[in-house]
């Protein structure tokens, strides 16, 4: 697999073409929203989370935005991770999750993303070798972290 194909794995292209969770849910009680921009390329995302009545779990993630295939796939994979967990993710785990994702992406190819933890998003491991693209992959996850903090 050459460099380009390890970056743009089939799973990434699939997610970017058929994104999960794209289309913002309406604002409601227990929702919080974050808007993030990458000033270098102008990519942007608006991401909304909904938490359970007791605030202990994230129960929905939706988003809208425009950007490269990496940024679109990354947002979609975040949503599919929540879907794989039955649509409920303990709020307490979200910061560890985002921190682990960030650490792997900044590792310049040293730390692969564990599929057991990150699901489809593990396919983004290759991005960490392309420092100029790390922000593309991080955009949705930064928005997620910020929205959860506001919820």
């Amino acid at each position: 697999m050459n460099g380009l194909e390890s970056l743009y794995q089939e799973l990434i292209l699939d997610h970017s073409k058929r994104p999960h969770g794209k289309g913002l849910a309406d604002e409601a009680d227990h929702t919080a929203t974050s808007h993030q921009r990458n000033p270098i390329c102008g990519d942007e995302i608006t991401l909304r989370v909904r938490v359970s009545d007791d605030g202990a779990e994230v129960t929905e993630v939706t988003w809208d935005g425009a950007g490269c295939s990496i940024s679109q796939a990354s947002a979609s994979m975040l949503v599919s991770l929540l879907e794989e967990e039955g649509g409920r993710m303990p709020r307490a785990e979200t910061s560890t999750l985002v921190e682990g994702f960030r650490e792997a992406l900044r590792s310049r190819g040293e730390l692969p993303l564990d599929e057991e933890v990150f699901g489809d998003a593990a396919a983004l491991s290759g991005v960490s070798k392309y420092t100029a693209r790390v922000k593309c992959a991080m955009l949705a996850w930064v928005a997620f972290e910020d929205a959860v903090a506001r919820a």
Partner: protein, 423 residues
């Protein structure tokens, strides 16, 4: 033309020959420029315009010789060239000097530049942020109103609208000679005539013309103009602000401090004549000397020959891009513009690839050794006007070849199938 003079072009990128098509962002440097900076730092480095020792005298002489050379390159006299750290610094200098005049600094000579609430500053829709935001800020500080000249769908300026926008209240008209996104040479003479008819000061961004066209700033008739060293084969950290002699004479300084004064008391200071009035503090000495080497290199090639070479590349690239499915050129005025004439261009094309984001296009081309710019190129309003947030830009310089263009076109023709947008 001269590939062998540029050592970096011998580098391999991702195992491929480097095809550098990002000179609009920054140009590569010929060995003569690298050598000039090293030679100064190795043999003559010293503080300029101070000190009585031999090296100080030699450094000052080299620094002022560099000013002669670079001023001559744009048709100006040395006292008409102010060193800056780059074009952004030059444009901010112009905006802040006018702002200082607006609060009475430098009066009475500077009074003709003073802005009052309701006065108008005019820019174009195609400006780089560096020739937009300083004017937004100046308008906010003075109560002036910022207006703009729109561009047509084909990328040319709407001169009919310009006639309406530039009016009695217009005090400043700031515009780019060549858009860093569209590559089209703007009609400087027409805009200067409109500005002069209402007594407005003209400010020209010559960043994308100075490296590519014969440039005679006094003949263009603009009051102020800026250019950037690193885009014209020179080093980073140096640029030029050109001014008509009477304009520089009348403007108050922006940055103040050492090396720009005659007499200083604890209460006030008297300032030197231009260009030193605008050169407070330590100057980019080794960079200016290396920029002079870049200018001599361009002069040896001959700017008419440089322009002709790049026109050939631009035409080849434009024709090739039009053949690739899904590619939309930004500002393609070569097939009948609003003026009825093909627009004059430099070797620069920005484009959108249907279904593939600019970042992904750039990454794909990089894997083939082709370096292009992706993003909004510091021109968000212009991208918004074309319904985009980002585009891909390929830009040439003296060292590019027809083969570079062909490698780029061949690589680009595979991008949509790689991303599964076309068969």
């Amino acid at each position: 033309m001269v590939r062998a003079d540029f050592p970096i072009l011998g580098e391999r990128v991702n195992g491929q020959r480097l095809v550098y098509l990002d000179s609009g962002a920054t140009s590569q440097k010929p060995q003569a420029v690298i050598d000039a900076e090293v030679a100064f730092l190795t043999r003559a480095n010293s503080a300029v315009h101070r000190g009585a020792h031999t090296l100080a005298a030699e450094a000052t002489e080299l620094f002022e010789d560099a000013r002669d050379t670079v001023a001559g390159f744009v048709g100006a006299r040395p006292e008409q060239l102010v060193w800056t750290s780059g074009a952004t610094a030059g444009l901010n200098l112009a905006a802040y000097a006018i702002g200082n005049a607006s609060v009475g600094r430098g009066a009475p000579a500077s009074a003709r530049f003073a802005l009052r609430p309701g006065d108008e500053i005019v820019v174009t829709e195609a400006e780089h942020h560096a020739n937009l935001i300083p004017w937004q800020e100046l308008a906010a500080r003075t109560g002036a109103v910022l207006r703009h000249i729109p561009v047509h769908d084909d990328g040319t300026l709407d001169l009919e609208a310009a006639t309406a926008v530039i009016g009695d209240r217009t005090r400043v008209v700031a515009f780019t000679h060549v858009s860093n996104v569209l590559g089209i040479v703007n009609p400087v003479a027409e805009l200067v005539a409109l500005a002069q008819a209402v007594g407005a000061t003209t400010v020209l961004d010559a960043c994308q013309s100075a490296p590519h066209l014969p440039l005679d700033l006094p003949a263009l008739g603009v009051d102020l103009a800026v250019f950037s060293g690193h885009k014209m084969l020179g080093p980073y950290g140096v640029g030029g602000l050109y001014g008509r002699a009477d304009v520089l004479e009348a403007l108050p300084p922006f940055l103040t401090g050492g090396s720009m004064i005659t007499t200083v008391t604890l209460d006030e200071a008297q300032y030197l004549a231009p260009p030193q009035r605008f050169e407070a503090g330590t100057q980019p000495v080794s960079q200016a000397i290396a920029l002079a080497a870049a200018v001599r290199y361009l002069q040896a090639l001959g700017m008419p020959a440089v322009h002709a070479h790049e026109k050939t590349l631009e035409a080849r690239m434009g024709a090739g891009l039009r053949q690739i499915d899904g590619v939309r050129l930004l500002g393609d005025a070569s097939t009948g513009s609003a003026t009825g004439e093909p627009a004059e261009r430099v070797g620069l094309w920005a484009f959108d690839v249907d279904g593939v984001h600019a970042h992904d296009v750039g990454q794909f081309l990089d894997s083939r050794g082709v370096a292009v710019r992706v993003g909004h190129h510091c021109a968000q309003p212009l991208h918004r006007r074309f319904g985009l947030t980002a585009s891909v830009r390929a830009s040439t310089s003296v060292y590019n070849t027809a083969d570079d263009v062909d490698v780029f076109l061949d690589a680009l023709s595979g991008v949509r199938s790689f991303f599964g947008v076309s068969a």
